[in-house]
Symmetry: C2
Subunit: 440 residues, 2 copies
């Protein structure tokens, strides 16, 4: 891994640029391809979806919908008990934390005006579960559990089938555990198009969630810009980790966290900021050693070529670079992490101390692992149950409330040149005054 | 206004389509124009912004930034006391309700794992205040107050200047009241481009808020799809109201609420659903009468041409049509509105009962008036303080917590084929076991 020295007075933005190249989500070729796929799916619906599945996944699905009356689902029940138990631990922790996050209604009642803001479930949501180099049943848990807690009426799950048309049994098991009884065998941009616009088989949803490759991300962006399409969770780029470490940190732990990130995707980024040049060198050595043991060594190696270790003069500088970078995952593997928590302004998820391996949070601590990447942690939240809901306000104004507010609103409406607004208040006020309406 | 009869058994979607034509946000001409403006502003920055302001607003701003050392701001202090008081009432109510909505941190601490999800302010936000047919100081209050409550460090406000380069004094007064000490004299797509990418004078922001015409909306969508751009509040189409009324409703009140909507914009929609054909006719008559008194009669008339009254067999049908339409504003002007509140699944803001004129909420009740339009109420929330913040999770796992979770996470990571994830946990577990690490 490349080691760079950052000196006091150097430009923070410059350092950030070393960590993350400025790239668009998609090239114009990807954009055009996705536009074509969306157009075709809107026109030819199921037929188009099946044909793209044949073309991209090497399997022609006679039936797109795959309900739990199919024997493959029962096979999932025969999964090894250890696996069932592990899924159960993850399920319970995710369920518990997301339940605690369920937003509560807020009500204010005074001067004859009763105001409430309340979250209600999005009725139909679409969950996209990738199945590329690995079957991501953890993504299913992270999406379906908050959707169930939010109270979504219909949860439509799509995932690309294997070449032989099967679906990974652990994914089926996890789906059943979440109460999902039907999956749809489709992936890629064609899945997003089907979810956004609906087909004969796949119901149109109102919001689409889940990670995917650049075609999936581009398709999500395109449908989210169309009022006839669907909203999306967040624009997702390649996964990232930024670790801040000092001389108290163990190089082997840090190397293992960097590699856990790097193995995701050749475009993933793993950044280390440290105040200790010896640690920087030790981590670089450890990475070489541990890399050899990885199943996905080739991917990790590619990803590490774009990753970097920065040696900075002090922790404050590390935090400032991190805030400017706004990492999806931030690991504070330093002797006194508590001291700098208040200064962290931009990060999706923060892992605190030497034992908080990011992998624990990826699977089983409880918080959601769908988090903002590519600097979006400056403005976007990771998922919570509220992502599967929308807030509505309720305003109930009594006759007394109207009389109290009328002079203010009549004047402000007049100042904005909106005489119709003013009139809607004046009419009511006059009626109350002329009829000597009995106020409660 | 056109009156349509909806019979039991008719198609709900058909009725919805009568209320809202399926339109995209922008034509391809608008898209291309906006692309050009964004490209030019990214290249030529201030110079481009000034030139576009000359071109579109008829004024060449020598200085884009307009700070409160300028005498015009002091003039704002001499505003009539009634106006100052009216702004104060609105300010206080908006402040109070949004303070009540400030999201609280949630913490869960058990089994050696301490989890927190906490909202922190977005550091730099951009507020776009239109100045077309009317100076919308109410939009400034609705955007700046929650931004201040959220704790945003920099609040950048842009608004198009008048032809003589001045800014409306009420807008300046409202800005000062919110603690804003500088405005930027720029509007349209060029303002959005400047906020998203920054210029020599206008700071780059991380999220852009505020209503605007189709060029502004298209520019917001385009910058939100670029990782180097900025996030946006929501895609905003023309404003809408849907009123549900029964035989107890007063036709004049309903007509006034429909007209208050219609006067906004020629593309605004005002829909009435009622169970009473006599009321439908009475409202149509009242609209003709009241229309004559409006300052913005021509705009309202155009808008009404696309608006519709639907006579439905029962309230349940009205609610089902409303839910499918998902109005920005829903007014329940019926004898027992409480009975159907739980059935309202999609609406931005609900106004309950005969005295709850939407105009009261537009200015002064307290809840935000920036709400989802064009059916986006199915998936988007209106603004709250959390819109100016983002959630971050904090995960602190102790050595004991790691030992508890390790078997689960090691197995799940292995099943997903991510040996690097597994290794980051195994290394720590082994270290703890081999060193007989003393657990707290």
């Amino acid at each position: 891994m490349k080691i760079i020295t950052f000196n006091a007075g150097d430009d923070i933005t410059q350092a950030t640029r070393c960590c993350r190249a400025e790239t668009a989500f998609a090239t114009s070729t990807v954009k055009e391809t996705v536009e074509g796929i969306i157009k075709t799916v809107r026109q030819n619906k199921d037929a188009a979806v099946k044909q793209y599945t044949q073309q991209f996944d090497g399997y022609y699905p006679e039936e797109l919908s795959f309900s739990d009356t199919n024997g493959q689902w029962q096979l999932a029940d025969t999964l090894n008990k250890d696996i069932q138990r592990a899924i159960e631990v993850a399920y319970e922790n995710i369920w518990q934390f997301h339940t605690a996050l369920l937003p509560q209604a807020v009500t204010l009642d005074q001067n004859g005006i009763r105001l409430t803001r309340e979250y209600r479930p999005i009725e139909r949501v679409g969950l996209y579960i990738p199945n590329g180099t690995a079957p991501l049943f953890s993504a299913l848990l992270m999406l379906a559990i908050p959707a169930v807690i939010a109270g979504c009426k219909e949860i439509i799950v799509t995932t690309p089938p294997n070449k032989d048309g099967t679906i990974n049994p652990v994914l089926l098991y996890a789906a059943r555990r979440c109460g999902i009884r039907t999956l749809y065998k489709v992936g890629g941009a064609q899945a997003i198009a089907a979810l956004a616009y609906g087909t004969e088989t796949i119901p149109k949803v109102q919001k689409i969630f889940g990670p995917g490759n650049q075609y999936v991300t581009e398709a999500k962006l395109q449908v989210s810009c169309d009022p006839q399409g669907a909203a999306i969770d967040l624009p997702a780029g390649p996964s990232e980790v930024l670790i801040i470490a000092d001389s108290d940190s163990r190089a082997s732990f840090i190397a293992s966290d960097l590699l856990a990130q790097a193995e995701h995707d050749a475009k993933s980024r793993a950044i280390l900021l440290t105040t200790d040049v010896n640690l920087a060198n030790a981590v670089a050595r450890e990475i070489k050693l541990q890399l050899e043991t990885l199943d996905r060594k080739a991917i990790a190696q590619q990803s590490l070529e774009n990753s970097v270790i920065i040696v900075a003069p002090d922790l404050d500088t590390c935090v400032r670079i991190s805030n400017d970078y706004a990492p999806e995952h931030l690991i504070l593997n330093i002797s006194n992490p508590q001291a700098c928590l208040k200064d962290i302004t931009n990060a999706g998820a923060v892992f605190i101390g030497p034992w908080s391996a990011e992998a624990l949070g990826d699977y089983a601590c409880g918080p959601n692992h769908v988090l903002p990447t590519q600097g979006y942690a400056k403005s976007y939240s990771g998922l919570g149950p509220e992502s599967f809901m929308k807030a509505m306000t309720f305003q109930e104004i009594t006759a007394q409330g109207l009389l109290t507010l009328a002079p203010c609103v009549e004047l402000l409406a007049e100042l904005e040149g909106l005489s119709g607004h003013k009139n809607s208040v004046t009419l009511r006020r006059t009626y109350l005054q002329e009829t000597s309406y009995e106020l409660a």
